[in-house]
């Protein structure tokens, strides 16, 4: 369900399906082989191909759920999953596939994000692009102002640098062969954000981006602009000097990541999201059972050795939702 979408926006399933396809299991040899078509259907909120301004409801059926693969989880907690914490919180849980804690919920985020991306693109000229910037120690060098969506989509790991992509893919295949998993970093840019989006104090633009990213399954960190690396610099090295360029106020560098005082300054917004190695591995691990005894558990089922390629559309989606929200807030109060 998506509320708050403006009316009269041309919108059909064809606007949403491509991002679902980028998120979908089984899309390549380095993601889970689970087979889900993930076909979206718009149930309400549009009429004759345009949004009504009332809530959009979209519908994607599960097709390849195999609860039996999870039967051991009925009485054992998977390490570094949410099994134990859901049990502790609610005193009860759906152990089939993780229930509400399953990353399958991100399908809704990606569908909503596709709508948000369309609004940003058509009404505000804003483009959001994510890519895999790092897998373990394999790091890409990418010009944030120049890389394109086609470059990102040109390989299955979604890294716009083809040689780095090849090394990343090789690494992921190697760890998968061992039944293990790896993590890394998704980077994301928003180009064309006008000055003025974001709010003082609590709802700073980077604060809402941080919340959105840390709400994604398996994410462990977020930074914006110079981020954690910026702490090595002094203020005189770090500050973004300002100059007039073609009649606009610009910064010469962009260590601020396009946001100053919580509000966009017209430069490219960019940030990083760290994702841990996937918790489900095909190896035996120490754990406990629901009766309070030590035991072991070996992963089964069909899981991702690396969440990053499928996380790219998730990061883009959450970024788009945050930016649209701030666009509306800014428009409501200041324009």
């Amino acid at each position: 369900m998506v509320d708050g979408c403006p009316p009269r926006l041309a919108l059909t399933e064809a606007d949403i399906q491509p991002d679902l396809d980028r998120r979908r299991p089984g899309q390549s040899s380095i993601v889970t082989p689970r087979k889900e078509a993930d076909v979206v259907q718009i149930l309400s909120g549009t009429f004759e191909g345009k949004t009504l301004g009332t809530p959009l409801s979209m519908w994607v059926r599960n097709e390849d759920a195999r609860s039996e693969a999870y039967s051991e989880m009925a009485h054992k907690f998977r390490p570094s999953h949410a099994d134990y914490t859901y049990q502790a919180k609610y005193g009860f849980r759906n152990w089939q596939g993780g229930g509400r804690s399953s990353a399958r919920e991100t399908i809704g985020r990606v569908a909503a994000g596709a709508v948000a991306k369309k609004i940003l693109r058509e009404r505000h000229g804003v483009e959001i692009l994510g890519f895999v910037g790092q897998v373990q120690d394999i790091q890409a060098t990418v010009d944030l102002d120049m890389f394109t969506a086609d470059q990102v989509e040109s390989n299955i790991v979604r890294c716009p640098c083809p040689t780095t992509a090849a090394r990343m893919i090789e690494r992921i295949e190697t760890v998968r062969a061992r039944g293990d998993s790896v993590g890394g970093i998704v980077m994301c840019v928003a180009r064309g954000v006008p000055p003025g989006w974001g709010e003082p104090v609590f709802d700073r633009l980077e604060a809402d981006l941080a919340k959105a990213m840390l709400s994604l399954p398996a994410s462990k960190g977020f930074d914006v602009g110079s981020g954690f690396d910026g702490i090595m610099l002094t203020g005189s090295q770090h500050n973004d000097a300002m100059r007039m360029r073609e009649g606009r106020v610009r910064t010469v560098s962009n260590r601020s990541g396009g946001i100053q005082g919580g509000i966009s300054n017209g430069e490219t917004v960019f940030f990083r999201v760290a994702f841990k190695p996937v918790a489900t591995i095909m190896m035996e691990q120490d754990t406990v059972d629901t009766s309070g005894h030590d035991t072991t558990l070996k992963g089964r089922g069909r899981h991702d050795p690396c969440v990053l390629p499928r996380a790219v559309p998730m990061v883009e989606a959450m970024a788009a939702l945050v930016l649209v929200d701030h666009a509306l807030r800014h428009h409501a109060q200041c324009e």
Copy 2:
């Protein structure tokens, strides 16, 4: 203004003032020499020394504001400050001291956080402790389960390791002498958080912590548990094995940072916050003026060469507010 505080909590100014003193300007030789007593007065919400359950209003007066120090800012934008973005957003700004974008607003956060910390300590047995973990490249090694508040407060930089603290102080004094500034990392732990705090999907505990931290002035990054460093590990290295210990479900390691699937698991919650070098420096910088011309600006006034020592109580305050909020939500729905 603080709403939602439970009734019948013993509360006077003496519970709040100590944290304001830790945040206050002029407290040591490595922070701004501005003189503010920052004395708090509770105006409403308590009666006979106890909370009423109705909103608390607290009051701290400015005493040493010198608007004349800011007169140049009326027509020039300070680089890497919010001057330009506020002007762009609102078409109008209070240029005296940064107005709403001034970090002076954090005094309200610290006051509210002191109340939250008391609730957590007295009603839930939760203790929140922050410290300066890194200044530029100077990094402290600290046992997160063992360090104490006294150790943190034993030196002016708020690093529990005295030898590292001495090096940090020396570095800050050196850069200040040059009119420059430095950044670094504040670390924070929450000990005693029971299993079950946090919500699925959007309001994960780490998501709300991330938002809270990125809402602090000068913060550029957040990570939890293994964070950005965790991406170097494989899943088999990273997963926290589970074992029964004294009748409780425990994890053997704590790379999760006390949170799994967005919900606390009973281990110590810990996270890091990156702060950029302070933007105000006593050096000439390129900038533009409000008429759209290139110009230069040299910092004036009385500013911090390093925000970290004063950021420690801010980080603790925001963490406390997030945790209390989740404690209430959990209690409301699940207990």
Copy 3:
């Protein structure tokens, strides 16, 4: 979608269907003859017959929608409907059956309300009962502390007084025969509400009830306790004297309607909701078309001559949702 339901509540479709049946078209000779089975299916949020604490999603399909009955509405605005206001607001509307403005949306409210009623009954001992108190000038005299659900359900107009019910039914049938419609009043009581539910200032219990009731289609007024009639009394006549009764603080009268200062006082909460005569009538009316010309329109389709019998479960549902919300808020902060 219903969020915030506590975990471990026994819940199946059988808990929800009865209220949907009370709301359903075609249930009697004095409501619309449209045929909708309105069978509910719980899609998620429960497991093995109990709530998980995660969102409930429920699903009811339309079966007897006939868009062709509405084709004239594509270019004419129905008087006293939302056709024109939706067109004005969104610049675009789904003219088939009113789209989002159709009272069909109340099916979701009644389903959610059935869950809320179960929580109130099982966890708090609170019972919510509505009935039709007035149809045009035909007014029932009902003892608010004594009437029962069986009495309400014993006739098709849902008035616990059988003789008044007979007159109401006759009136509704008479106006229907003329192609016209009537309005009236639904009354509702909540028995067993403990003292302490409701919040100071903005979120008073009666304020949230008022909003909930005025959000129902065709509602035009709300009052609580003595309500509009109370203005005829003086303070000395109106005040509810207090006495101890069986160890509890009670009021001798209950003109307050169980709420004082926005917070429940332990007496029966009661209120009235005025519903206008249904706007769709089988008579020719003056209106305008979407091209801005005067025209006429005659109602077609299968509509209710009186919304009241079907509004009873809607009023109960909204009251239950408000009360559960306040129960949780009170529990979170004060217990």
Copy 4:
């Protein structure tokens, strides 16, 4: 504190004080003789006489509080006040003057409402006008499209019909002489509301108005348009026929009260609010004490025999706040 005010609105204390003067105690012979100047001071949120877009904080000091007048209330509950319910909710209360439950809190609403009224007037051409429509059985006949603010302010009871006003004043003086109190009805119109304000389903314009009005102290009922009286009509009598008038879609009658389907239709919005007789009376009443014994209490202090004249600016303020909120929401999504 008022958040969300647009930037660059000219605003000084002179815009706010007049409404505070209309609400102020001691303004005439028929309200409480308590002496409060109620002088407002804007502490932040404006700069050089214009709003900054950041929160406004306004400050009004109490001057004539006499806690000793309330000492008996430390251990006795005033009938039909909030003393008992606050005690029951929080287990603790400030018995001096009712604490948070005192109607003194409405000063903040009126101050905020004055800002909202200015925004509505200057940016949207909307005018909000309330008046006393009924005191007990004394009812005014007023042309809702014609009466003026000057007529309302021409007498101390704030009824635009001078002869009815005289009778109302006489009635209030009579009941006050007996130590008793009376209630009545405040009516309110909003002229110039454009079509399109309000939201489907839960946040209908009339729903938010209803909540706002029922949140006012002593209010017991709300209706809009034909309201409770409309139930006597049939649909054919009640429906508002539509016609083109000067190129605009208009309704011939306005029983809808300017709102259809929760959204404004461009006609005058009007509604009524019922206020009970003031609970504080100078007569002995049965009550209980905090130790659980029956006792009696006689009102003391300086109270209003009728809340209506001072309630007029409160009703206007709450209406203005609701309308501004919907104006912003509509602007954000649809414009």
